[in-house]
């Protein structure tokens, strides 16, 4: 009954965490006074949202703006034509001032529609947290159920705070420079790189603590959507490091991911940073393209998890004296399957929502592609396992579905439904081989398959974009080929099979770089943390299960023989 009594043994790390949070708080106060420095800079933020969305936001179905702006580049061959169009627009506007007023309303409504879409899909992505919690909790042993739930819960809480403090500013502090989210009103106040400038930006520099320039309706819409994406990377690691990591070490991992690891690479791809601009600066396709984050979110999370799992080492008893892996069967298949379905549902926000606008009608294709890859991935994993081991493993069938989802996340907007099925099937096979490879050859213990699902399949998804993108979508993506691309008007992001090898090269290089970045940075940082204090629980705690030693309660208290203490209610006597 030793575990029923209070044991105080986790005081060491928690003091360090408290100190770190105190520093964050002080930084916030400092930052609050600092943002006055940005206060007089144009453009002004619009916290009320009353100045966001006017006639300049009105576009037709093909994306042509309603308002014709005065051409500024006199050396352009189209100058005369553009100037004529501008003059005609001016003359027309002078005759019909009411049309301009109406356009102001239409523009505002357009932004409003896109806000609704982006926020609602963001809420769907938020719900994926519940799916991950169910999935990972079901895949581990019962004695660690409370530990798993708390990791998933704390991941949301602490990574969110880190992202609020510095992460968002690092990632999107310069988004208006190259990657303005015009569907959401452009977030024009976020226009400064902390490191780098122009097409070679490495780190955003505005919007710390969401104050000043980031206290803006357009920016906050983006914040909500992006913070839940960061959370996804944040809880991917849970699947690989659970059942042996101490809680304080886990909190440091989350602060690291939410504040540093994810935002930095996120800035390179989505914040208008250098990787996304390789198309303009080095003529490599449309630059590095990752629509909804196969690499930015998933492989970064997956390879970070790999480094952490490597540092922590396998769970006790995972490998026998002969080095052969042993099975620790899942404790709750019902959780595993329902969690996977919650994730599939959440993914309907993850991918279609990444258009950041309901006025982008490609959303239907994206939703279909996402689902197709999911079922194809699951079918492939199920059948492969059936063939290899004689029975289809339910947990691998679920991993296969997630593998398909992870892989289609980058290319979902740029490929056809048929290509989505192919991508899903390859991912479904890849995830199975990845799980066996990790377990038997690398001997990295990954209880939930996070490294294979998110790391390997995420990398593959980003590369698959460079192969299968068919050019039907993404005209002018990352500022490349707005007028014409590969000699065709309206040609979008194009992959190897449709004639643009340079897109494949930048995808392969970019995805590999992000994987190495995530693995390398995490490994260096946490090797140091682990040398300072062991991130792993003691042998006794691990054998007993982490629930009681780390949190003072069991996930399933009915499993313990409860002793009624003196103060508790004893059963009523029958009279």
């Amino acid at each position: 009954m030793r575990f029923l009594f209070f044991e105080r043994q986790c005081g060491r790390g928690s003091a360090a965490i408290s100190r770190a949070l105190l520093v964050l708080l002080l930084a916030q106060i400092l930052c609050g006074s600092m943002w006055a420095a940005f206060a007089d800079q144009a453009p002004q933020p619009d916290p009320a949202g009353t100045a966001t969305g006017d006639k300049t936001s009105v576009l037709d179905a093909a994306g042509n703006p309603f308002v014709v702006f005065e051409p500024t580049d006199r050396s352009s061959p189209d100058y005369a034509k553009n100037k004529k169009a501008f003059d005609e627009f001016q003359a027309q506007a002078a005759r019909e001032p009411l049309a301009l007023k109406l356009a102001d309303g239409v523009g505002h409504d357009r932004i409003g529609t896109n806000f609704s879409w982006t926020l609602l899909t963001g809420y769907l992505v938020l719900f994926m947290q519940a799916g991950f919690a169910l999935l990972t909790c079901g895949l581990v042993r019962k004695k660690n159920a409370a530990h798993l739930m708390m990791l998933n819960f704390a991941a949301y809480v602490f990574a969110f705070l880190a992202y609020y403090a510095v992460g968002y500013a690092f990632q999107f502090g310069a988004v208006a420079v190259n990657a303005s989210p015009t569907n959401l009103g452009g977030a024009p106040t976020l226009n400064h790189f902390l490191i780098g400038s122009g097409q070679w930006g490495f780190l955003g520099g505005k919007g710390f603590f969401l104050s000043g320039p980031a206290y803006d309706a357009s920016s906050n819409c983006l914040t909500l959507f992006e913070v839940v994406f960061m959370e996804t990377a944040g809880y991917i690691i849970v699947g690989a490091i659970c059942e042996r990591i101490t809680f304080w070490a886990f909190l440091i991992c989350e602060l690291f991911i939410g504040g540093m690891l994810y935002p930095i690479s996120g800035c390179w791809v989505w914040g208008g940073g250098w990787l996304s601009q390789l198309g303009s600066s080095k003529h490599l396709g449309h630059g590095y393209v990752d629509f909804a984050g196969s690499s930015v979110v998933h492989s970064v999370g997956g390879f970070c998890a790999m480094a952490l799992a490597l540092i922590l080492g396998p769970r006790l008893g995972k490998y026998g004296p002969d080095g052969k892996p042993r099975a620790f069967p899942a404790s709750n298949i019902v959780f595993v399957v329902s969690g996977t379905f919650v994730l599939l549902f959440g993914w309907m926000g993850f991918n279609p929502g990444s258009t950041l606008g309901a006025t982008d009608l490609r959303i239907s294709v994206i939703a279909v592609n996402t689902n197709l890859a999911a079922v194809a991935g699951s079918a492939a994993a199920m059948l492969l396992w059936y063939w290899l081991f004689g029975k289809p493993d339910i947990t691998m069938a679920c991993n296969g579905m997630l593998a398909g989802l992870v892989a289609i996340t980058a290319p979902c907007a740029f490929v056809s439904p048929t290509a989505s099925v192919i991508i899903g099937v390859v991912a479904g096979v890849l995830v199975c081989l990845g799980v066996l490879f990790n377990e038997r050859i690398l001997k990295i213990d990954d209880p939930c398959g996070a490294i294979s699902v998110h790391g390997y399949c995420g990398w593959f998804g980003a590369v698959a974009l460079g192969i299968f993108a068919d050019g039907t979508y993404g005209e002018g993506w990352n500022g490349v080929g707005a007028a014409a691309y590969l000699g065709k008007t309206g040609q979008g992001v194009t992959g190897l099979l449709h004639g643009d090898w340079s897109q494949f090269v930048v995808q392969l290089g970019g995805a590999t770089l992000l994987a190495i970045y995530a693995f390398g940075t995490t490994y260096v940082v946490f090797k140091a943390v682990n040398a300072w204090r062991s991130m792993r629980v003691s042998k006794d705690v691990e054998l007993q299960g982490l629930d009681v030693p780390e949190f003072g309660m069991l996930g399933y208290p009915e499993d313990a023989v409860q002793m009624l203490s003196a103060g508790s209610q004893s059963p009523q006597r029958a009279v």
């Binding site: 042993r326 099975a327 069967p329 004689g390 029975k391 493993d393 947990t395 377990e439 038997r440």
Partner: protein, 112 residues
Amino acid sequence: MKRIDAVIRPSQLDEVKQRVNALGITGLTVSEVRGFGRQKGHTETYRGSEYTVDFLPKIFVTIAVAEDLVDPVVEAIIEGARTGVIGDGKIFVSSLDDVIRIRTGERGPGAI
């Protein structure tokens, strides 16, 4: 007085209960247990790693009876629990020194 303990297949509990009840016994206690006999365990695969299921789930039935009911109850358990396949279980019969009804303090055969 005798105590009859039977290890049976979980699927046969209902059959056994009905047959034993029909004999007019006044009490029966069951517990879920795990174990192995000649049936032994079997091997399964989880995410590519093999594991053995050594201890199979069984139901442990305990009945206290007067001497004259021992043979009919044993017969009833056999009838209810037998499937003819290895793993049907075992019955243990042992003598019982005393039985006490907690509510009244009654002792002996009357307390059964």
